[in-house]
Subunit: 406 residues, 2 copies
């Protein structure tokens, strides 16, 4: 619902070109020229357009972008539709930038408590039986709540969804002969952070994959080209990108990313190895900075759970007093962003709209107060999935309702 108005003047002048040139991408730049004046017309039926190209491009009237910092970038959830995230808008969270990896030199070593340590090239990985699955990824630090003027992208844009293709990790584990005593494995990335995480072997026997493709094409550099670990439903950082080594062991490796980071207080204890991302939902329309009119409004959003399928999404249009079930877009997939929609007639009075997700385990997305009750006042910044509320003002303006807890 990108309603940014672009005049002919803007399109034909330098502004649009300049704006597009600002969209810097990894390794280089993408430059899209403005529309040639000869093509811009009040009657497109009178002007023959350009022929097909070798690759397509967005309309010059559309430019969804990620909000990027030095270490992360956020998917523009409020600009998207359905359940697939375009690969170039997938969120990023890196610990030492995006490495350049030559796929012809890529190698994955699997060793440790295995009968036969092996090195796999990318071509080797592609020769094994392949599987595709659609699931979300989410950074465990995916929550902001400091002001009214936050967009869905700013609140929780560290989640995206792709159709991934690759080889089941079990296939490789059988190949190397993982020993019965092995209960953990280390996953190590080939970036300059040499990102490492310990993963229980049970996840491999469940649904872990090594993936080399995303949304139909080779995985993008920002997502781990040429191959990454995929642990469906588990916190993003465990899905190690640019994967170069798996080491089997009978205990976790206690790496920096599971001792000094990615742990959080739960009352008077510290929770470590908190893998599954709990059920969550967010309304992406209407949301800040959109403005709505009185009458029928389709409330739209996405819901997801790292524990399985979304069973129900409820919507409240009266600040949480009552809740009604939203429509879920079929097919509802396991550990996947699920689009929900709820048709609502707004009477023009100030109100708050909220959504809450319940997954197939029966777990329901908590309020911030329920989170506080469960985890204590000092919750840290990880695994926060509270119900999100939007305030709709009488003038139709939509604002985020910040949650204050510290």
């Amino acid at each position: 619902m990108n309603k940014r108005k672009i005049s002919r003047r803007t399109l034909l002048g330098g502004a649009a070109t300049a704006a597009v040139m600002l969209f810097k991408s990894s390794y280089g730049r993408m430059i899209q020229t403005a529309i040639p004046e000869s093509l811009y017309t009040d009657d497109p039926t009178k002007v023959v357009g350009p022929p097909p190209g070798a690759v397509g491009a967005r309309s010059p009237f559309e430019h969804p972008v990620k909000k990027a910092s030095d270490t992360s970038s956020r998917t523009p959830l409020q600009d998207l539709y359905g359940t697939i995230t375009p690969a170039d808008l997938h969120y990023e969270r890196h610990h030492a930038g995006v490495p350049v990896i030559d796929p012809h030199k890529y190698e994955l070593l699997i060793h440790g408590m295995v009968d036969k340590p092996m090195v796999f090239t990318l071509a080797d990985l592609k020769r094994f039986p392949s599987v595709s699955r659609t699931c979300f990824l989410e950074c465990s630090g995916n929550f902001r709540s400091n002001k009214e003027t936050l967009t869905p992208q700013e609140i929780c844009g560290l989640t995206s969804q792709s159709e991934w293709t690759g080889v089941m990790l079990t296939t490789l584990f059988r190949e190397v002969g993982v020993q019965p005593r092995a209960s953990w494995f280390l996953a190590e990335g080939g970036d300059a952070a040499v990102m490492t995480r310990s993963v229980p072997v049970r996840k491999a026997w469940d649904d872990a994959m090594i993936v080399y493709a995303q949304n139909g094409e080779a995985i993008r550099p920002e997502q781990g080209y040429p191959a990454r670990l995929l642990l469906p439903g588990w916190e993003g950082n465990t899905n190690v990108k640019w994967l170069r080594r798996l080491e089997l062991s009978d205990q976790p490796f206690m790496t920096r990313e599971e001792t000094s980071r990615y742990t959080y207080p739960v009352k008077d204890r510290i929770r470590q190895f908190s893998f599954e991302m709990d059920a969550r939902s967010i309304i992406t329309f209407p949301a800040f900075p959109q403005q709505v009119e009185k009458g029928w409004i389709e409330i739209r959003g996405i819901a997801w759970s790292g524990w399985g399928k979304i069973a129900q999404v409820e919507v409240s249009t009266n600040a949480g007093k009552t809740w009604q079930p939203a429509r879920l877009q079929e097919p509802v997939l396991d550990k996947a962003h699920t689009a929900f929609r709820y048709l609502w007639q707004w009477n023009g009075e100030t109100t708050e709209i909220l959504s809450r997700a319940t997954d197939e385990t029966g777990y329901t997305q908590p309020t911030i107060q329920q989170l506080l009750n469960a985890r204590g006042a000092d919750m840290g910044g990880y695994h926060l999935n509270p119900v999100t509320a939007w305030v709709i003002q009488r003038d139709g303006k939509v604002l985020f309702r910040p949650e204050k807890w510290k």
Copy 2:
């Protein structure tokens, strides 16, 4: 499985840049600079990579491209994985190029045999209850067979798949009050061809949509930005792009695209209004120009049917003597590309591999001979879906087996 080798020299020199600059896209150009020398290293763990960007980009080692003529471009099926076609690789078939349409000026008129003729803006369309569905599109002229050195892209790359989002056409038809006598509607595009097709109203009551989003984002210009008709399973040209007018009537309109084109001989008669695309499949690996080695090979491909779900794909590895069922990737969706896989141990002898699809109506993809028997020797160029065979030579080279019929 793009195995094109790129040396460091190529990447750093002018060649890579020049190659990428050749990838002309609609309206403008995409330019991707070569990898800065500082990032290219034999040990990526020693070099901090660039930070996240506002939009991502493909790896410089990957460049799938469409094969484009003046009027069409073909999806590189042999370079893809899974079931989603990246939006910028979606096939194109235009009758007067790609028009530039300002979404703020876009209007869709629905008139004719309706109680209340109405004009809908893009914002109007987006206010209605929305639906997402994943399905394929396919040009009715999607077949080539003239030589051994054809890739899947060249044989049948005029098919692609997206997740589409928009409004059900029934929603709009109820809004305007389509009269009971109306049995056809005209769909008219806003391009310089003013592309028109007549569509039976029954398709609207079944599953037709007006879509404004594709694979999570606004629909691409080449696919009808800002809105197109989507008739799941029906021949591509009826899914009118840049849709600007629907006119209800009690008879078809006999437009140029259904009289002089998009009709074909069936024995001594001409078939008109042949909407559904019949079940089809193609093996995309191994395929020309790939080369394989003796041993285990996962045969991979896609199958689809405009009549419903794919029920079965069978693979033959002995030139059609015997057939075995392939694995289908779940979930199998209605009128959707369905990935199939079949694990095969190649003994190194020359052979032919084939696939054939059966849909839920019980229809099985025919051989070229069966097509000839059903339609006569002068079959024309539309709705050809024969079983495709690849010859695997002793040296592992894979060639297409052309079908001669005229």
